[in-house]
């Protein structure tokens, strides 16, 4: 229960990638967390709460970063949060088994001036690596509390919370007075003085030259806790800080000082400062660590890597891993999907039974076909998503994902993409929706967006029923395999070409330097796997669910309304003998065909004829394609309705006979081409919008793919017609 007397403190968790930051965050918050996106970016945002008496800790898991520079979106997000949201305490999770590199971020966090608690995580791994760390001494040298912990065994969390509270209490801190309190300089009555002084004790001393320059810049800047950091970044030439509004004269002073540095040193200021930081850290590490024996853990990790990253064996091992992921996701997921599908089917049948048989109730139709069908269409993907994210969580948690990126980089770099992009592309063969969610594992926004844009070209499982219906209808058995293969290969080639094109145009620029840390192999904890799985599943249900459901209901309405008047006579079709008015039709299949033909979808299909006839399509195909926007496989059912064969699926020979009678094999091929490339389904649109952070990208994806589909299908149809290929 919350009362108005409750105090809320904001705590940010910062640290290097792979330092075990998220495990500590999970331990602190348990299931009381939610995942979101930072506005406009694809960087994930995790927030959770922890209660201690009347105190509420609002804990934010910042993205993993190596520094507070501007080299990646993650770094920008982390530093903007620290500067603008001014968290009450920052928990810096440090990997004890890789102390030197991890303390680099710590030096920057000290400069940013927020109260800091260092968590020395994985102290057991440090022991395995043969050394022990004197955390008391480290605390003295850094001037902030240092708490040893083992995140994946949930050890040391109480001590972490204790240290956070102690830091808060020593500052006599109350919400709302935060900034006055922090900005009060060390002077008589300055309550913040002890910890402020303590914090600055651990800061890097850059030597007389740099310190003099920093002091000169600092004097020009407004008094803030992060003034020193700001001055250092200005000296480094940080473009972001330089673009902020600065006091008069500051820019000029910085420019003069930077020129002076360039003249006196062989290093640029940023490299010089980085080196001084590392020198400082080196001295610190010498003082606090004691090597007791050889490094056994690293040796084991290296031995595994000799196989997993072998120039020859690495690729088959990776492919075998991906095969496992794929099997787990779809082989284990599909029976569950069928179960959900059948459950919703039964629910529909139950509700249908509430009305008298054959009743044309609109409410029944909306409830059964629109809502139950729509919700079912959303929930049905859940098994795939849950299983896929469990597999990805295992691959990431163990550290194999980085090896996979290493192995595939040789191939993916040829199209200008990162090695890791291979994984979402592969998952795209199963379903585009989880594949787009899997782009979260990519590091740069550019790679994420390019991958998302081309992902629908990987032919997903929902398109298979279309091929399964059409290929046997038009092609002799010996050609069926090659045609299916050709469709899949066309998709892959278009995706790769598309990625290349995007790299060369919209996302031009230097190849992202491929630099990546290889974390040592680790066993992920069951808790972190479950939390990751659960948060993804929830995110999917909540965000995509609302959009997909709404869209499904709208599309349903489009294929049902308006109803034709009883006297309406459908337009004559060639080869159709008698014309019957809607009211006199007795065959339910024919009635439904007439309804669809009269509905908005039918009208749109007809209106589209001038646009789609150059591809060899008529209004029937157009109408079915409108329905397929809900989900690709709906195309088959819609064709069944248009041709009045009743309930049709991809094995319907009656429907195939109808198709053969009306269309040439070339048109059959064109339909498949179009279905492969065009208009991603509504679920893809919704998930792209969510993951890319704006509807613009989803719209761009839909429009450009549809345009591409039209151009290619048009070319195939026209060239085929010209060469008289498959026209009879």
């Amino acid at each position: 229960m919350t009362s108005i007397l409750d105090r809320t403190l904001t705590v940010a968790v910062a640290g290097n990638p792979n330092a075990g930051k998220t495990t500590i965050f999970n331990n602190l918050t348990g299931a009381r967390q939610h995942v979101g996106n930072y506005p406009g970016v694809t960087v994930e945002w995790k927030e959770g709460t922890l209660r201690r008496g009347d105190l509420r800790l609002n804990i934010v898991d910042l993205p993993g970063t190596y520094s507070l520079s501007t080299f990646s979106e993650e770094e920008l997000v982390a530093r903007d949060y620290l500067l603008n949201h001014a968290p009450d305490v920052v928990i810096n999770v440090v990997d004890a088994s890789n102390l030197e590199r991890n303390l680099y971020l710590t030096t920057e966090l000290l400069e940013i001036g927020r109260p800091l608690v260092v968590v020395l995580n994985m102290s057991d791994a440090a022991r395995d690596r043969g050394y022990i760390i004197d955390h008391h001494r480290l605390s003295q040298l850094l001037g902030v509390p240092v708490v040893p912990a083992v995140g994946n065994r949930n050890q040391g969390m109480e001590a972490v919370i204790g240290a956070v509270l102690e830091v808060v209490n020593s500052r006599v801190h109350l919400p709302g007075t935060a900034d006055q309190c922090r900005d009060a300089g060390p002077g008589p009555g300055g309550l913040a003085a002890p910890s402020r002084a303590a914090g600055s004790a651990g800061r890097v001393n850059y030597g007389p030259d740099v310190e003099a320059a920093v002091a000169r810049i600092e004097a020009l800047l407004p008094e803030t806790p992060h003034r020193r950091w700001q001055a250092l970044k200005l000296l480094e030439g940080d473009s972001r800080v330089l673009s902020d509004s600065l006091p008069v004269g500051a820019r000029e002073t910085v420019a003069t000082l930077a020129t002076a540095f360039a003249a006196s040193s062989t290093d640029d200021p940023d490299v010089l400062l980085a080196r001084l930081r590392y020198e400082h850290i080196g001295r610190l590490c010498d003082e606090v660590t004691r090597q007791v024996r050889g490094n056994g853990a690293a040796a084991l990790s290296d031995r595994i890597d000799r196989v997993a990253m072998h120039p020859v064996w690495g690729v088959p091992i990776f492919l075998a891993m991906m095969y496992l992921v794929f099997m787990l996701t779809f082989m284990l997921g599909n029976p569950l999907m069928d179960l959900i599908d059948r459950g919703f089917g039964a629910l529909g049948t139950f509700f249908t039974g509430l009305w008298p048989a054959g009743s044309p109730s609109h409410l029944k139709s909306l409830l059964v076909d629109g809502i139950i069908g729509g919700v079912g269409g959303v929930v049905v993907f859940l098994p795939n998503i849950v299983l896929l994210f469990m597999a990805i969580a295992v691959l990431e948690g163990t550290g194999y994902m980085a090896r996979a990126a290493f192995v595939m980089d040789r191939f993916m770099s040829k199209v200008g993409l990162h090695g890791k992009t291979f994984i979402p592309l592969l998952i795209g063969f199963g379903c585009t929706v989880p594949a787009i969610m899997a782009t979260r594992t990519l590091e740069t926004r550019r790679d994420r967006l390019i991958t998302m844009m081309v992902l629908p070209l990987m032919s997903c499982g929902a398109r298979l029923p279309i091929y399964a219906l059409l290929i046997p209808a038009f092609f002799a058995p010996r050609w069926q395999g090659p045609v299916l293969w050709m469709i899949y290969v066309t998709g892959i080639l278009l995706a790769l070409a598309g990625a290349r094109l995007l790299r060369a145009t919209l996302f031009r620029g230097e190849n992202t330097p491929f630099v990546m840390e290889l974390p040592p192999y680790r066993l992920p904890t069951a808790q972190s796997l479950l939390i990751q799985m659960w948060t993804r599943a929830w995110l999917y249900l909540k965000k995509a669910g609302t959009v997909i459901l709404g869209a499904a209901v709208i599309l349903w309405c489009l294929t049902f309304y308006p109803k034709p008047p009883a006297t309406w006579v459908p337009p004559a079709e060639p080869g159709q003998a008698t014309l019957v008015a809607y009211g006199q039709m007795t065959d339910p299949a024919q009635r439904r065909a007439t309804e669809l033909s009269y509905s908005v979808a039918g009208h749109v299909g007809r209106a589209l004829e001038p646009v789609i006839s150059p591809m060899g399509f008529d209004w029937r195909i157009g109408t079915a394609l409108v329905g397929a926007i809900a989900a690709k496989e709906v195309f088959v059912a819609q064709m069944g309705i248009v041709f009045a064969v009743g309930q049709a699926d991809e094995t319907s020979d009656q429907l195939r006979a109808q198709l053969r009678a009306r269309y040439s094999p070339l048109v059959g091929l064109c339909i498949m081409m179009f279905a492969l490339i065009a208009t991603p389904c509504i679920a893809t649109f919704a998930i792209t919008r969510q993951e890319a952070g704006s509807a613009r990208w989803a719209l761009a994806q839909t429009l450009s793919l549809t345009a591409l589909a039209w151009i290619i299908t048009f070319a195939v149809f026209q060239v085929g017609t010209l060469l008289k290929l498959g026209v009879s």
Partner: protein
């Protein structure tokens, strides 16, 4: 000489990085800056590169490694 010429298993000292401020900064945060001792863990002659620096393993793209001079 470029890092790509260092054989697997050998040690090298980083001399300079041919790249923009962004790249140098990014590598510096990872501990890859002039004076750092690198141990080449994997160099198969093609594909990316693995070095050990300051206790961590870092993967570098081949193009990246070619821009790092060592001695």
């Amino acid at each position: 000489m470029p890092l790509t010429h260092v054989n697997e298993g050998n040690l090298a000292i980083l001399k300079s990085i041919d790249g923009g401020r962004q790249l140098r900064g990014r590598l510096a945060a990872l501990g890859l800056l002039p004076g750092a001792q690198l141990h080449v863990v994997q160099n198969s002659g093609q594909g990316p590169f693995v070095v050990a620096v300051r206790g961590s393993r870092i993967v570098l793209g081949r193009g990246m490694a070619a821009r790092i001079s060592v001695e």
